[in-house]
């Protein structure tokens, strides 16, 4: 949570652009990242992220502080924008459509990690999860939000968030084990 966030929001509500600018600077990266993981296309992610902040700025007077960071509200807007994006364009996330840029960046990092799991496999597994499970994984492990913040953003209870997280991890594991087994079989047959 940004220091003095509540005050900045109140000032932004009064139309102070500089205050909203600070909020924008603080939250642009996590929101962009969240959208990027969901849509897998850089241009779409930029357009949607822009729409999220434009909508936040224009509707800021609707925002009511409920004890959670401003980010929960932004994530709610972002989720709705992503849903609208898929609904209007009737696009379906396919692993073939994924923008390679996202994985080039992560791939570079992967080299530094002590892991035997191929990133390609992980991205396939993540894409196969339900939207809620994807949201929970990103918010929890990428953005380090706590369960309360995630629950607010997803409009779910804390318990439901914990359950989603548990299922998401289990599903990821199951898919990875399954793909590893398939790879082993392929190697044996070849």
């Amino acid at each position: 949570m940004l220091e003095g966030e509540h005050k900045l929001i109140e000032q932004a509500k009064d139309g102070q652009q500089e205050s909203f600018g600070k909020l924008y600077d603080h939250y642009i990266t996590p929101i962009y990242r969240f959208v990027m993981v969901k849509v897998n296309h850089r241009d779409d992610a930029e357009d949607l992220t822009h729409e999220v902040f434009l909508s936040a700025w224009q509707n800021l007077k609707n925002y009511k502080f409920q004890g959670f960071p401003f980010s929960s509200w932004l994530y709610q807007i972002a989720r709705n924008k992503v849903i609208d994006h898929y609904r209007t364009k009737k696009m379906h996330s396919s692993i073939d459509d994924v923008d390679e840029n996202i994985f080039e960046i992560v791939g570079a990092l992967e080299k530094g990690l002590d892991t035997s799991i191929a990133l390609e496999t992980v991205k396939e597994a993540i894409a196969s999860l339900s939207p809620d499970q994807q949201d929970v994984l990103v918010m929890k492990f990428v953005e380090d939000l706590n369960n309360g913040e995630i629950a607010t953003a997803l409009k779910k209870s804390d318990g439901a968030v914990r359950l989603l997280q548990h299922r998401a991890i289990n599903n990821l594991k199951a898919k990875l084990i399954s793909s590893e087994n398939n790879e082993s079989k392929k190697e044996l047959t070849s």
């Binding site: 992220t49 434009l54 224009q58 609707n62 992560v106 990690l113 990103v138 990428v142």
Partner: protein, 130 residues
């Protein structure tokens, strides 16, 4: 495996937006006008009322057109139970025959009850003579 998964998920933190996009988007957003409270009142209350009013007006209009159309074109020509193939004289004859059956039934009842009454009177007279 879970640790490895979490490491990979954390590696997604390296995704960052383009600086050019950030500055362009930021300027565009901050130069856009904010919705005023009046806009929210209009959008939330007045606009909804207008929508509801328009829907009711359209529904009433449609109902008026349907009812007016039926009466204009004469319901006799449209109603399936009033088709021209049904002859009105047949219906009248049928109605007469129903009435006829009722009259016969009434006559039979009168005759039967008359016999019963007669028998009862005879029985009473016999008792009195004794």
């Amino acid at each position: 495996m879970e640790d490895q998964l979490i490491k990979i998920l954390k590696s997604l933190k390296s995704i960052v937006p383009d600086q050019e996009f950030i500055s362009k988007s930021r300027n565009l957003i901050l130069s856009a006008p904010q919705h005023t409270r009046g806009w929210f009142i209009f959008h939330g209350g007045v606009l909804q009322s207008i929508k509801m009013g328009a829907a009711l007006t359209l529904a009433s209009g449609l109902l008026f057109i349907v009812l007016g159309g039926i009466s204009f074109f004469n319901v006799r020509n449209l109603s399936p139970v009033m088709l021209s193939s049904i002859n009105s004289s047949n219906i009248e004859a049928e109605a007469d025959s129903v009435d006829f059956h009722i009259q016969l039934g009434q006559a039979k009842y009168d005759v039967d009850s008359e016999k019963e009454i007669g028998a009862k009177i005879d029985e009473l007279l016999n008792n009195l003579s004794l």
